[in-house]
């Protein structure tokens, strides 16, 4: 898979000049959509993601409702203009899978028992993609949930690690994702130190995997701080 012509790491710096354990620059804005109950716009490197949260609200269709707790629904969608070649709009195998894993990454921190017979709907729109959209989507959705005033046990932060040119690196960008050896997106509840999403594409040895997990934990902590700052900034005069 790896393309020998590309030299990923030179003198400890990556293609875009980052260190091995450095995140891409992140920008988070809270409450960008007027009609959503909670919303968040996030940029992480070349990724541009919008997340909206509606609810708790009535469940339609009715048969999906749960008499004891809220249900959480999540839709991950890529805009047709989000990638270089136009993406055919609408759900496909990939986005259905990411919707499901994103929901499962976010669901455990929501205190669903407060809202029986209701639904919390999360919409993640990818406006521009540059590797690591699912983690960016989860980060944005988590902030949007807090903005919507939904009770949660913490915030979910997510970032990817991977193996590129024999090195374990944090937050892969497009070239590294396409030609690297492994991609491991991880989402976690930083305060409670619980992992809610872990996927792996490629191969890692046990030691490399442990190293990757540790690196992801560090990345998630950094992202968590940025999420917190973004939320607080909304109500700072």
């Amino acid at each position: 898979m790896s393309d020998k012509t590309i030299e990923f790491i030179e003198k400890g710096r990556r293609l875009d000049g980052r260190k091995l354990d450095e995140l891409r620059p992140i920008k988070i804005e809270v409450g960008v959509l007027k009609r959503a109950n909670g919303s968040c716009y996030m940029e992480s490197g070349g990724n541009k993601v919008m997340a909206a949260v509606y609810g708790p609200r009535e469940v339609h269709p009715r048969r999906m409702e749960d008499a004891t707790k809220a249900i959480v629904r999540c839709r991950y969608n890529m805009a047709s203009f989000s990638v270089e070649d136009r993406k055919r709009p609408g759900p496909d195998r990939r986005s259905v899978e990411i919707s499901k894993v994103s929901r499962e990454a976010i669901e455990p921190i929501i205190i669903k028992e407060h809202f029986p017979r209701s639904a919390i709907d999360i919409f993640i729109e990818i406006l521009q993609a540059d590797a690591g959209t699912r983690t960016a989507g989860i980060n944005a959705a988590s902030v949007a949930l807090a903005d919507a005033g939904i009770p949660m046990r913490g915030l979910v932060s997510a970032c990817a690690t991977g193996k590129v040119g024999g090195h374990i690196v944090l937050d892969l960008m497009k070239e590294e994702d396409n030609y690297g050896e492994a991609d491991v997106p991880i989402a976690m509840d930083v305060q409670n130190d619980k992992v809610t999403l872990l996927q792996m594409d490629g191969r890692l040895t046990q030691d490399e995997f442990k190293q990757a997990l540790e690196l992801a934990r560090k990345g998630c902590k950094e992202i968590y701080e940025m999420q917190r700052q973004a939320l607080i900034a909304k109500y700072t005069v």
């Binding site: 109950n37 909670g38 609810g55 708790p56 609200r57 009535e58 008499a67 921190i109 205190i111 407060h114 809202f115 029986p116 017979r117 209701s118 807090a146 903005d147 919507a148 005033g149 939904i150 009770p151 949660m152 046990r153 913490g154 915030l155 509840d189 305060q191 409670n192 999420q227 917190r228 939320l231 607080i232 109500y235 700072t236 005069v237």
Partner: protein
């Protein structure tokens, strides 16, 4: 003001007995469950900045009739749950076939929350002095989390609005506010209310609202 802002998962206290609204308890410690301002006066609670209205028995709300059923009115109270107003809770004794003449679809009522059960079945009542059908005036809807700001500390904001704006104002706990008066007064009141909603988290709000109201006064007089 800033240091009181907490986000979900922040540790608030290790005294479980103090856990109030907007918090949760885990391993003998109290954490914030929602994003908001923390208030540590007697019990620790987190005051929300957003969120849907959750009905509690004893609340007074402004509801909108959305359906007339066999012996119940179905009422939207701008919460995730629709409320039921039983025919026997209407102030007068009426027959089931007269229901839509008394309260038709789209009518607004001031009603009390009589009971909320564990499955969030909400029952309303209109038997009580302050409960009535709203025939005149207008209703605006703001976030229910901002209602305490509209009322103000010990009612300071609401008494300011009532005395300065020549309007009858009634506040429903669910975020709907009924305003009655001359048209230009109503418009001004609504502007003031929306300003309160927008700037609810900033200090010195009552003074700024006072300024906002008096700024306009000369033009109307």
């Amino acid at each position: 003001m800033n240091k009181n802002l907490v986000i979900p998962g922040d540790l608030l206290s290790s005294d479980v007995k103090q856990a109030g609204e907007g918090t949760y308890v885990k391993d003998g410690q109290v954490f914030a469950a929602i994003f908001g301002f923390v208030n540590k006066k007697d019990r620790i609670q987190v005051i929300p900045l957003a969120g849907k209205y959750m009905p509690h028995s004893g609340d007074v709300v402004i509801g909108k009739i959305v359906d007339v059923r066999f012996s119940n009115w179905l009422v939207n109270i701008s919460s995730p749950y629709e409320a039921l107003l039983h025919i026997s809770e209407y102030p007068e004794r009426i027959d089931a076939d007269q229901m839509s003449q008394c309260l038709g679809i789209g009518d607004l009522v001031v009603a009390g929350v009589k009971d909320v059960d564990v499955t969030m079945k909400v029952e309303l009542t209109m038997c009580g002095e302050s409960f009535k059908k709203l025939d005149s005036g207008g209703v605006i809807e703001i976030s229910h989390a901002k209602i305490p700001r509209v009322i103000g500390r010990k009612g300071s904001m609401i008494s300011l609005l009532k005395s300065e704006l020549n309007c009858d104002i009634f506040i429903g706990q669910n975020g709907r506010i009924w305003v009655k008066g001359r048209e230009e007064d109503i418009n001004h009141t609504i502007k003031a209310l929306l300003k309160i909603e927008r700037e609810s988290h900033t200090p010195g709000l009552t003074d700024r609202i006072k300024e906002f109201i008096s700024d306009r006064k000369p033009t109307t007089m």
